[in-house]
C-alpha cells in the first residue's frame, strides 16, 4: 500500500518533469529567465517593476494588443529607440526611448520576458525571429 503510493508519486514526478522538458518549453524558460535579468538592468528604471510605466511620461508594457500588433517591430524599437506619438492602452504618449545597446540574443530574451509578463502571453521571441525583424527596421 505504502510503497505503491510512493511509486505512483515517483511516476507522477517523472511524468511532470518529462512534460515540462519539451524543447519549446526549455527554450522558453531559458529566454524568459535571461530576459528577466536583462529587464531589471535595462528597462525597469523606466517601465517599472510591473511594467506599469510612469504617469504620462513612459508608457506601460501591459497593452497586449499593441505588443501583438507591433510584434515584428519591437526589436527595432530597442535597436533604434522610439520617438513620436503612440497610443498605449487608450492613452497617448509622446516620449523618447533611447537606443539600447543589447545584442540580438539579449533583445530576444528581454522581449520574451516583456511579452510574457505583466499580463501578456505571446510565447517565445527567439534569436532567429529577432534577426529577421532587425533586417526590416526602417
Amino acid at each position: 500500500m505504502r510503497s505503491g503510493f510512493i511509486i505512483s508519486i515517483g511516476l507522477l514526478l517523472v511524468a511532470l518533469i518529462a512534460s515540462c522538458q519539451s524543447d519549446e518549453q526549455v527554450e522558453f524558460n531559458r529566454y524568459y529567465s535571461g530576459g528577466s535579468v536583462l529587464y531589471l538592468a535595462h528597462c525597469q528604471n523606466c517601465h517599472g517593476e510591473k511594467g506599469e510605466g510612469l504617469q504620462a511620461l513612459i508608457p506601460p508594457l501591459t497593452d497586449s494588443t499593441y505588443l501583438k500588433k507591433n510584434k515584428a517591430s519591437l526589436a527595432c524599437y530597442l535597436k533604434n529607440g522610439l520617438k513620436g506619438q503612440i497610443t498605449i492602452a487608450g492613452r497617448t504618449f509622446e516620449g523618447e526611448m533611447p537606443v539600447s545597446d543589447l545584442s540580438p540574443l539579449e533583445m530576444a530574451k528581454v522581449l520574451t520576458y516583456v511579452t510574457n509578463s505583466f499580463g501578456n502571453k505571446a510565447g517565445v521571441v527567439n534569436l532567429q525571429q529577432v534577426q529577421v525583424d532587425l533586417q526590416k527596421c526602417r
Binding site: G48, L54, Q55
Partner: protein, 216 residues
C-alpha cells in the same frame, strides 16, 4: 549553536537599547560649530549647524523661488534632468509617493533642481510636470544656471558632475530632507522604495518635533 544563541541575545539587547525613549527626533546632519555667546551676562556654548544658504531659481511656472519661499516649510530636495535615461524615472516614480502623501500640506514642498538647464528650460519643466501629473505648488522643478545649481548641490552634500563621455550626467540619486531652520535632517536613496517609506515616516516625525511645530 550556543555561540549563535549568545550572539542573538547580544544583538537583541543592542537593538532594544537603541529604541528611542520619548518623542522621536531626527538627527541634524552636516557640519556643526560650537559658538560661545554671552547671554544675560553668562557665557553659554551654542551649536551652530550648517544651513542651506539663500538662493534664487525659477520654477516650472516661471515664478522666482528663493530661500524665503521655503520659510516655514519642511522640504525635500533632489537633482535630476528630464531626459535622464538611468535613475531619474525611478527617483521620480518614488518621489510621486512623497508628493501624494503630503500634497495637502502647505507647509511642505519638494524641489527638484535640473542639472541640465540648457535643455530643461522652464517650458520643458512645465511639460514634464504636466506629464508627471503634478500640479499646484507642492512640487517645484527648479531652473537656474549650471553654476548656481552645482553650487547649491554642495550644500545638500550631493555630488553632480558634468556630462561624461557618453553624454550622461553623473549625479547622486539622493533625496535630502531639510527642516524649517534649513538644516539637513536626512538623506535617502531615491531609487530604493524602502528608503522612501522611511523618508515619509521621517517627515511625519519631523513635522511633530516641537521646534518645527512653532517655526514660522
Amino acid at each position: 549553536m550556543r555561540k549563535l544563541i549568545g550572539t542573538l541575545v547580544i544583538i537583541i539587547t543592542l537593538y532594544s537599547a537603541c529604541k528611542p525613549n520619548g518623542p522621536a527626533t531626527l538627527p541634524i546632519l552636516g557640519n556643526r560649530q560650537p559658538v560661545i555667546k554671552t547671554v544675560n551676562g553668562k557665557t553659554v556654548t551654542d551649536t551652530v549647524y550648517s544651513t542651506i544658504p539663500d538662493f534664487k531659481f525659477v520654477n516650472q511656472y516661471a515664478d522666482t523661488i528663493t530661500g524665503k519661499s521655503l520659510n516655514g516649510k519642511i522640504y525635500v530636495a533632489d537633482f535630476f534632468f528630464t531626459t535622464c535615461p538611468s535613475i531619474c524615472p525611478v527617483m521620480h516614480r518614488n518621489m510621486l509617493n512623497v508628493y501624494k502623501e503630503f500634497k495637502a500640506d502647505d507647509n511642505f514642498r519638494i524641489i527638484s533642481h535640473t542639472i541640465d538647464p540648457k535643455y530643461d528650460t522652464v517650458p520643458v519643466l512645465k511639460k514634464y510636470a504636466d506629464k508627471m501629473g503634478i500640479s499646484g505648488n507642492t512640487w517645484w522643478l527648479l531652473h537656474g544656471t549650471k553654476d548656481e545649481t552645482y553650487q547649491i548641490a554642495k550644500n545638500y552634500l550631493v555630488s553632480v558632475q558634468e556630462k561624461n563621455p557618453q553624454g550622461e550626467y553623473i549625479h547622486d540619486g539622493y533625496f535630502i530632507l531639510v527642516d524649517k531652520q534649513k538644516r539637513l535632517r536626512g538623506t535617502y536613496d531615491g531609487t530604493d522604495p524602502a528608503e522612501i517609506t522611511k523618508l515619509i515616516a521621517d517627515i511625519k516625525t519631523l513635522k511633530a518635533e516641537p521646534d518645527e511645530v512653532v517655526a514660522k
